[in-house]
Structures are given as structure tokens and as C-alpha cells.
């Protein structure tokens, strides 16, 4: 590893739990339904994180535990069975149902895998019922996707076909673009996981080469490896460098000639660098503090420091998977401070002490920091926006330069005060 300083911190945290990832997962797989087995808090969390819900009937919901469900577990299992059947009767378009564990369901030990197993026998394949945990006592934010994908892996058919498998939810447009680039390089068989339809799962086998699009898929990567797939080591496809190294790693793994790769990527790289210029001008020399939340903090810091010239004060990360992050950490500037875990009060003290120009943080903290005159960027935006790939590098940079530009327009000299 490079000279990055790795520190650990514990204390009160300010991060979402894994349930939040339902917000993008249900959009990726429109034929799936995510049923949280939890409390009113869980329901309120998802609807608050998802913002305003505009769907007549959303593809996620909560089976809210009530007092009598806590009394007897057998009854709770029966109750859940009843709720699921009502739901499926009302929503015949559902092909895959995820039962999502929560803090209360984990604490009272509702056995969702058993409920799922029984339902699968009863439903005879009309609907596939799966389960995973998105509970906040075990998972943070993006880890929910890791759990959902891991639950799908046993259903993936076996195959000896040579293929490239992109793993992790991407915006559809970005996914199409990346696939077309791989096709141009000569990798024809490219599939994605999760798929756009939950029933169209890609096959997997020893000839499958996995390229992770997101840094939070620890369990999924391990399970895919157990299925015989090879995990290609690479940094993540954020920014020009990260995306280039990511594509090159796949090309190498498929034995594609370097000159072909260069001839296809070089024009994209020079175009992307040119598009980055105005943002680099704005971001260069500015101080950046990343609070832990999405797990994208390390790759983002690497992009913003190496390609945009930002000075990194601190990179917070909810947890650190040193294997998956190795390629990223190696690219970080020396003496970069990475803090795993969180003590939100102490961390905010450090934010104030270091007076950064931009803080990447959760939605709860953004306005209080803005009110102190510190520009912010919501980390949840990174999991919604099309930011992956060489062509998207300037869009990614724009997400960070815009708050600075806005701050300068509105407050050329003074800081804000709010109520």
C-alpha cells in the first residue's frame, strides 16, 4: 500500500443503513419487489431517503411489525406469509420478491430464509422469493446492494462461456456506453449483474471474468469467486484514469492487444481531459473533506485529487475492505488520511478546524454545514447519477465544481447565516 495513513474511529455515526439501497435497486429491476420486514421507522426511512414518491404503487414496502408480532415468532412467520400472499395477489406483475431483514427483525430473529423457502415451495416458481439483510446493526447504506446481489447468485445458471460480467448497479445509459466500448475492443460477450429484469440473470462459470463497477460489493465478489468466476483487479471506473485502468484491466484479462486498446481509448481520454479542464480550474487547490457514507469515498478522493487537483483533508469510509480497495489506495497521494468508522462529533470538529472548501456528506449534515459557510455535496447523489466511465468524468467533476461555483456567485466574500 502507498503512504496513506489508515486510522480507525468509533462513536456515534451518521450514516444510512442498508435498506436505503432499495431506493435504486427497485428502479434497476422493475419486475422485483422489496418487502422490508421491519418497523414504522424502516418505512419512514425509505420514503424519506427516496424523497417524494410519485408512483401510484411503489415497488417497495414494509411489513410493519406490531406488538402482537413480537409476542410469538411462529405467528410472526404466519403473519408474514399472509402479508406476502396479499401483496402478490394485488401485484401479479412481481417476478422476484426480496424479503429484506431490518434491525428489529434481526433482533427478534425472524427467520426470513425459512419464510422464503416455504413460500417458494408454495408458489411453485410463479414468483421467486429471496431474502437478505439491510439492517443498520449489520450494514451501511450501499451494503444493502451487496446483500441483494448475493441473494441472487444461487439462482444464476452455470455456463462455460467466456464472458465479461459487469457487477454493480449502473445507470442504464452508462451501462450501454461501457458495453459498447468493450464490444469495440473485441469483448463481445458482456453481461450485467444485477440485470434489468430480475428473471434474466446472467450465467456464471469458470470462464466468467468479473469487473466490479462499484466498490461496496465485498460479499458478492466472494460468492462469485466461489462460483468459479475470476475477479479482475482494478480501480473503479470513476474519472478518466480510474475508468481507463478499469477498461484496460478487462482488456488485459481478455488478452486484447495493447495497441488496439490504446487506439480506441486514447481519443476518448483526450476528449474527456479537455472536458475536465474548466472543472479542474475551479477545483484545483481546493480542500476536500469526505465524510463516510456511500463507500465511494476513496475512489472519489483519488479522482478529485489526482485528476482535479483537490487537496484531500480526510477520507472517511464506513468500513475498509483492503483487498477491494488496494488498487485505489495505491493511487492515492502520499500521507492521505483515511478514517474508517466514525465519531460524527469529533469528525465535524475536524471539518471545522480544517475549513475545507467542500465536504461530501449525507443529507442530514449538508444544510447545517452550508449554514456555517461550508459548501457540500450529497454523497447519495453519487449512487443515483451517471458518473461511471471515461466519458462521464467531466459530469462527475461538475457535481463537485457546481457547489463551489454557486458559493462564489452568491457569497463572494462573506459566509452564510441561517435560522
Amino acid at each position: 500500500m502507498s503512504g496513506a495513513t489508515l486510522l480507525k474511529e468509533s462513536g456515534p455515526k451518521e450514516v444510512f443503513c442498508g435498506l436505503t439501497s432499495i431506493v435504486w435497486l427497485h428502479r434497476r429491476m422493475p419486475d422485483a419487489f422489496f418487502l422490508v420486514v421491519g418497523s414504522r421507522t424502516c418505512a419512514h426511512l425509505i420514503q424519506s431517503a427516496a424523497g417524494v414518491m410519485i408512483f401510484a404503487e411503489p415497488r417497495f414496502g414494509t411489513a410493519i411489525l406490531e406488538e402482537r408480532d413480537l409476542a410469538g415468532l411462529a405467528d410472526a412467520h404466519d403473519e408474514l406469509n399472509r402479508v406476502v400472499k396479499n401483496l402478490l395477489a394485488r401485484r401479479p406483475e412481481i417476478k422476484t420478491l426480496f424479503l429484506v431483514g431490518s434491525c428489529p427483525s434481526e433482533v427478534i430473529k425472524i427467520d426470513l430464509s425459512r419464510v422464503a423457502e416455504n413460500l417458494n415451495i408454495e408458489l411453485k416458481g410463479q414468483v421467486t422469493v429471496l431474502n437478505y439483510s439491510g439492517s443498520g446493526i449489520e450494514t451501511t447504506f450501499t451494503q444493502g446492494e451487496d446483500g441483494a446481489l448475493k441473494a441472487l447468485i444461487p439462482l444464476m445458471p452455470k455456463s462455460d462461456q467466456k464472458k465479461l460480467l459487469l457487477v454493480g448497479t449502473l445507470a442504464n445509459a452508462v451501462e450501454d456506453r461501457l458495453v459498447s466500448i468493450f464490444n469495440r475492443l473485441g469483448i463481445d460477450n458482456v453481461e450485467s449483474f444485477p440485470p434489468r429484469q430480475s428473471t434474466e440473470l446472467p450465467s456464471i462459470g469458470p470462464e466468467t471474468k468479473v469487473l466490479l463497477t462499484q466498490p461496496y460489493l465485498t460479499d458478492t465478489a466472494r460468492e462469485l469467486k466461489n462460483k468459479g468466476a475470476e475477479i479482475i483487479e482494478a480501480p473503479f471506473p470513476l474519472g478518466v484514469t480510474g475508468s481507463t485502468l478499469w477498461i484496460q484491466a478487462a482488456a488485459n484479462s481478455f488478452g486484447i492487444d495493447k495497441s488496439i486498446v490504446d487506439s480506441i481509448l486514447n481519443p476518448l481520454i483526450s476528449r474527456a481531459k479537455k472536458a475536465l479542464e474548466p472543472h479542474v480550474e475551479k477545483l484545483s487547490g481546493k480542500k476536500l473533506f469526505l465524510l463516510p457514507e456511500s463507500q465511494l469515498e476513496i475512489p472519489l478522493a483519488r479522482f478529485l485529487s489526482n485528476e482535479c487537483g483537490m487537496e484531500i483533508v480526510e477520507i472517511g469510509t464506513p468500513y475498509l475492505n483492503r483487498d477491494l480497495m488496494k488498487a485505489e489506495i495505491d493511487l492515492l497521494p502520499p500521507d492521505c488520511r483515511i478514517v474508517e468508522g466514525q465519531h460524527v462529533e469529533k469528525q465535524l470538529d475536524r471539518v471545522r478546524d480544517s475549513s475545507p472548501d467542500l465536504v461530501v456528506c449525507g443529507m442530514g449534515l449538508a444544510n447545517p454545514l452550508e449554514a456555517e459557510g461550508i459548501s457540500t455535496k450529497w454523497s447519495i447523489e453519487m449512487v443515483f447519477s451517471p458518473i461511471h466511465g471515461i466519458d462521464q468524468a467531466s459530469d462527475l467533476a461538475e457535481l463537485f465544481s457546481r457547489p463551489l461555483r454557486r458559493h462564489d456567485i452568491l457569497n463572494p466574500t462573506k459566509t452564510l447565516t441561517s435560522n
Partner: protein, 525 residues
């Protein structure tokens, strides 16, 4: 177990957070896992608060459960008291912590702090947000005032001073509370009544200790303050007012009630018709077109009840639906609905509310953030009158709901989504011109009409096929369909159903032009 796709109220600890965040110099230690920290964004995003809620979450993890979570809780309590130095400390738990039974309140009380500790027990698996807010406010007031002397104090007349009242109930994430407080303060000032303490909004624990200095409590938001007002009346002999000053009539009634409780003479000016512009605007000729507008009302208890009265008595609307998501308020909403010839809709299921809207074919929906979405899907104008709300329901401008100015705001907010009278008249006149697009609503500025129209047409087609297939059901003739198409789209569905019911009752096999008029006469009679 209850399947919930969306919920009007959060869990009870969110209510507690609303009280804690509304107040000053108070801190809340919440035994809860990390995901529960989402609640901060309700305040910092929806209300655009520039400061974090004064809440420390213990954020325990699965690996802590095997060890000593009680020690973990105590560590967080100590750190929170040291860092934030509050005048009083709230200690409680969210749904998950309730299951592991660490009793954080008792732990805190055993730690030897010299500040009041208020221990909250909010059953997360049976109660909801407003109940949690009410209980928290009650516990704070009770804890801080339980040792207060019960000796009868002198009245304002005896002390030869102006009468003083407390305004109880306003909170953050309540509907327009900030502006309501200003409006009521202004209103009371005009009648020589001073405001002693406003709580919870903006009050510190020290302010709570000053509550007994008032002559009367004004219960502005019963959902939050009623149980506290009852306790203060029973224990400290402070009477309270029960009329919520929403609308012209209710503001008059409130002022009369308050004057009476304070033993003051009711001034004539209370009844003057120009206190609020709502009265004249509603009497102006343009508002003739508001007569009998069908309005569907759903929200928290207080705002739904007030809206029904305003709609019915002050704007001349016809209330076609009335309901609340608040079970605690059902007792008050049911008779109000009954008085309007309706059955109250008491539910926490927004889809049930949407179905009720469809069923009653209103021309205006008054509801929460969710009814705005439902109404948009149905192409019906809507105004938001109650929480839960969205960031756009926290306007930058001064826009109270209570008092005279509140009535002005209500007139604008409810009437603007509807077509202006003259405009509606013109549209009626020209509706058969080829330029006319059915469903046009110039003031709505949304495109909901188009899609809804198509869906409506689809629905009509399917209905039609159904009725052809079903033996014994009446069939629409070409003339009947043509006449039906002249009826405004928002009531067309209802007219179709009514006419079919009538035809069935009357034994008609066919519905023609005349059957429609027969049915119309039948239902009007």
C-alpha cells in the same frame, strides 16, 4: 403485521425529535442503530434547518449486542452532556432498542447529573409520530413542573397587569407553525393580551418553568399539546382554550372563548366582517362560481376539521369527503363528517384515500403531500393543508394558516388551483369549439390532464365492453354517450355510474339522452 407502502406518520421517536429540535438548550440521547440517523434530514432538508437536531444516536451494532450495551449507552450519555451542556436531557429509545431493553432512561438517572433527566417510553410497535410528540411534550412539562407550588396565584385583574397566555403546541415539521405563532401573537396583542411562553417551538427548559406565570393556556395544536394542557389545568389550575383559530369563524370563536376564560368583555371588533379579506372575497361576484364546488378533505385531525368548516361555511363549497390518518383524532372527526352527511375516512393507507377521492369525484382536494400526488395523477386541483409535507410546503414568505391573515392565505391557496369564475364561464361557453381541449385547466400548469384523459377514455371503453357483456346491464346509446361527453370530465365518471345505477333501478335496457336527464333529476330530488 401491516403492509405499508407509505406512511403518513413516522414512529413515535420522530415525534420526540420534533419536540427536542423545536426547543432550545435541550438534548436528546436516542438509543438507536445507525440507520435511524436518517431522521436528521427531515429537519435539515424539509425545513431547511441550518443546524443539526440536538440528538445523539448511540448507533449500536450487532456486535455490541453480545456485550454490554448499557455501558455503551452510558458512554454516549456522558459524552453528550459534556459536549452539549444542556439544561435538561431527554433519554429514550427507537424501535430496535426497545427490544433489547437497556432502560436508557433509568441508566441516565443513575449517573448523578445535576440536570433534570426526562425518560421517554414511546411504544414503537403500537404508537406513531404525533402521539410521540404529544407524550414527549407532556413528559417534559410534567417533569419540570411536577414540584411546582399548587398555591393559587393572583389573577391578572388582582395583579393589575395585562392578561398573559401561553401558546402551546407549535413544533418543527408541523404545518406552518412558525407563522401561526407570529400571527396569533399579533392578534392577541391587538386585544391587549400578552404571550408568556411559546412552547415547544423556541422554548428552553427554563421557559417551561415559566409556564405557570400565565393566566390561560392556548392549545394551538391539540395533536401535540392537548394532554399537556389537561395536565396543567388539573395540577396547576391553568384553564385552556379548545378552539383552534383556523378560518374566520373559528378565529372569532377562539377570541370569544379566550376573552370569556380570561373574564374579559368580548369586544365588538371580533365580529367585524373586514378582519379577514376572505369574507369579502368569498362574497364577491367572482366567487359565485365557488358555490357547491366539490371538495375532498384529508389530513391531520385539526387541519381536516378546520378545513371542513371553512369549506362548508366560509367558501360555500360542498364537502364530499372528510377524513384523517390520525386515529387519536378520529373521535372528533367522525361527528364532524356525520354533520356533513358523510362517513369519516379514518385510515393510514394512502391508496384507500386515493380510491375515496376517485369515488367522490371532487373538483378540489385538500390534503397532505400524498394527496397532492394522488390528485395530480387524477388530474384534480389540490392544495396542501396538513402534514406530512414536502420542502415546497415550507414557503419562504410569511404564510400562516391561523388568524385573519391565515384565512387570507387559505383563500388564495385553495381558490387559485381552481379555475377563476369568469374563466370557467367562458370555457363552458366555448367548450364545443374545435380549439377546446377537454380537461384544460389554465391555472394548474401541469400536464396531468392529458394522460388522465387517455386513461379515462380507456377506462370508459372497458366499462362499456363490460356493460355490453354483462347480461341485464343497461347499454349506452350513441345519443346517451354524446350527452355524457358534454359533462365536465371530473364528474363524468360519477354521472356515468349514477345514471347506470338509476337505469338498473328503473329497469331501463338503454341509456339515451333522456335517461341521463331522468337520472339527474332523480339524484337531485
Amino acid at each position: 403485521m401491516e403492509l405499508t407502502l407509505w406512511t403518513y406518520e413516522g414512529p413515535p421517536h420522530i415525534g420526540a425529535m420534533r419536540i427536542a429540535t423545536s426547543m432550545k438548550k435541550l438534548h436528546y440521547v436516542l438509543h438507536a442503530p445507525q440507520g435511524d440517523t436518517y431522521a436528521d434530514l427531515l429537519f435539515t432538508m424539509i425545513e431547511r434547518r441550518g443546524s443539526r437536531p440536538p440528538v445523539t444516536y448511540t448507533t449500536f451494532q450487532a456486535r455490541d449486542l453480545g456485550g454490554d450495551t448499557a455501558e455503551l449507552v452510558k458512554g454516549h450519555i456522558k459524552e453528550a452532556v459534556d459536549r452539549f451542556n444542556p439544561e435538561a436531557l431527554l433519554v429514550g429509545e427507537s424501535c430496535t432498542a426497545e427490544l433489547i431493553q437497556d432502560q436508557p432512561g433509568s441508566l441516565a438517572k443513575g449517573m448523578g447529573f445535576d440536570i433534570p433527566i426526562v425518560s421517554l417510553e414511546l411504544p414503537a410497535y403500537s404508537k406513531k409520530e404525533n402521539w410521540g410528540g404529544s407524550e414527549t411534550f407532556y413528559q417534559i412539562v410534567r417533569s419540570l413542573l411536577k414540584d411546582h407550588s399548587r398555591e393559587s396565584k393572583q389573577s391578572w385583574q388582582e395583579e393589575k397587569r395585562r392578561p398573559r397566555v401561553n401558546l402551546l403546541g407549535p413544533t418543527l415539521l408541523g404545518f406552518r407553525c412558525r407563522d401561526d405563532v407570529l400571527e396569533i401573537q399579533k392578534l392577541l396583542g391587538q386585544y391587549g393580551i400578552d404571550v408568556n411562553v411559546v412552547a415547544p417551538l423556541g422554548a428552553s427548559p427554563a421557559d417551561i418553568l415559566r409556564i405557570p406565570n400565565a393566566d390561560v393556556n392556548v392549545c394551538l395544536y391539540p395533536e401535540i399539546a392537548e394532554s399537556t394542557c389537561i395536565w396543567l389545568e388539573r395540577n396547576l389550575n391553568i384553564p385552556f382554550t379548545t378552539t383552534v383559530p383556523l378560518g374566520v369563524g373559528a378565529t372569532q370563536d377562539f377570541l370569544k372563548e379566550l376573552h370569556k376564560v380570561l373574564e374579559m368583555e368580548i369586544p365588538q371588533s371580533v365580529n367585524e366582517s373586514n378582519n379577514s379579506k376572505l369574507t369579502w372575497y368569498s362574497n364577491s361576484v367572482d366567487s359565485n362560481y365557488l358555490t357547491g364546488k366539490r371538495v375532498f378533505i384529508f389530513g391531520d385531525g385539526t387541519h381536516a376539521l378546520a378545513a371542513a368548516r371553512i369549506a362548508n361555511e366560509e367558501l360555500g363549497f360542498k364537502v364530499v369527503g372528510l377524513g384523517t390518518y390520525s386515529r387519536e383524532m378520529a373521535r372528533k372527526v367522525r361527528p364532524a363528517a356525520k354533520a356533513l352527511g358523510l362517513e369519516a375516512l379514518i385510515t393510514n393507507d394512502y391508496l384507500e384515500v386515493e380510491d375515496a377521492i376517485k369515488e367522490t369525484s371532487p373538483e378540489l382536494v385538500l390534503g397532505t403531500q400524498m394527496e397532492r400526488h394522488s390528485a395530480k395523477r387524477l388530474g384534480i386541483p389540490c392544495a396542501v393543508i396538513s402534514t406530512p409535507m414536502h420542502v415546497q410546503d415550507v414557503p419562504a414568505r410569511y404564510s400562516p394558516q391561523m388568524g385573519w391573515e391565515g384565512a387570507n392565505v387559505i383563500f388564495d391557496d385553495w381558490v387559485h388551483p381552481l379555475m377563476m369564475g369568469l374563466e370557467e364561464h367562458l370555457i363552458g361557453m366555448f367548450k364545443h369549439d374545435f380549439e377546446f381541449v377537454d380537461g384544460h385547466q389554465s391555472h394548474l400548469g401541469h400536464l396531468g390532464g392529458k394522460g388522465t384523459q387517455n386513461t379515462n377514455k380507456e377506462a370508459i371503453k372497458t366499462n362499456l365492453q363490460d356493460s355490453v357483456i354483462t347480461d341485464g346491464d343497461p347499454i349506452w346509446t350513441h345519443e346517451g354517450e354524446k350527452e355524457l361527453s358534454k359533462i365536465p370530465f371530473f364528474v363524468r365518471g360519477k354521472v356515468r355510474r349514477n345514471t347506470e345505477n338509476y337505469a338498473r333501478q328503473a329497469g331501463c335496457r338503454e341509456i339515451n339522452e333522456e335517461t341521463l336527464y331522468d337520472a339527474k333529476a332523480h339524484y337531485k330530488a
